[in-house]
Amino acid sequence: MRRRAVRSLAALVAALGGALALASCGKPAPATYTVTIANMAFGPAPDGLRVGDTIEWVNADIFQHSATAKDGSFDADLPPHAHARTVLKKAGQIDVYCRYHPGMSGRLAVAS
């Protein structure tokens, strides 16, 4: 039993190592960036976004918000003080707004 556990752990380590090696050759590994919504406004868009990166939306307001892509590529619902993640799937300029307060807007520049 214990031997099997050790063996599967070794397999896991090997698999992880392989994945890391794959990720490290060529494109940089996907990164996670935080965008905070506070006082009825989106915080500044992170620089250097690439396809595959994750945006962690943090709602610091007492109001319900959403981070909704105008092109329909993502729509994160954000209750007060909640956070949600979206993965960037395509390159280009993505306009983002809040469904509840449509005057709140931001723009992400995503490289391929």
């Binding site: 006082n39 009825m40 109001f63 005057g103």
Partner: protein
């Protein structure tokens, strides 16, 4: 005596915009009362719309009003408690309440599209009035920094609501 009664009647009839403009230099306890009252009025209006409307967009807007204004008012209550301030009733709050009561009764008689239109048009006008009072009187008069900051957040929120209501009003025409 007669003159005073007449003046009282004229004041009671005055629209909230005029009443708010008259509230020169209210103190923080009065400001907190006015802001809370203004929010509570919009929550009541939103609840009426949620009960009466069948329009998807109007319902979404009304639910947003109830949710957002309740959130601000909860925050306001927490703040006055923390500051040890007792909100103080005043003629501006009373005039707002009287106007809102009349409006609720007027809207209660309407149904369907007529209700939706009247509700949303009043929301546009009401948010304009409250925003004018916030930026012109309440925010400049507020002494406490935390109260001022909450009112400023309120102004951003209500300005968004005003735009949303204007968009909706144009759609309902």
């Amino acid at each position: 005596m007669i003159r005073r009664t007449l003046m009282g009647a004229a004041l009671a009839l005055a629209i909230p915009a005029a009443a708010l403009a008259q509230a020169a230099k209210p103190n923080d306890a009065q400001i907190a009362h006015i802001a809370y009252t203004a929010g509570a009025i919009d929550v009541a209006a939103g609840k009426q719309a949620v009960a009466k409307s069948h329009n998807k967009d109007v319902l979404a807007f009304a639910n947003e009003m109830v949710r957002d204004h309740t959130a601000v008012n909860d925050q306001a209550l927490a703040l006055v408690k923390k500051l040890g301030v007792t909100p103080q009733d005043n003629p501006t709050s009373q005039s707002l309440q009287a106007g809102a009561k009349a409006k609720l009764a007027e809207l209660a008689k309407l149904n369907g599209k007529a209700f939706d239109k009247a509700y949303v048009e009043n929301e546009v006008a009401y948010h304009k009035t409250v925003n004018g009072a916030l930026s012109g009187t309440l925010i400049p008069s507020a002494q406490n920094a935390e109260l001022k900051s909450l009112l400023q957040t309120g102004l951003k929120l209500f300005t968004e609501h005003q735009h949303h209501a204007e968009m909706l009003a144009a759609k309902l025409k």
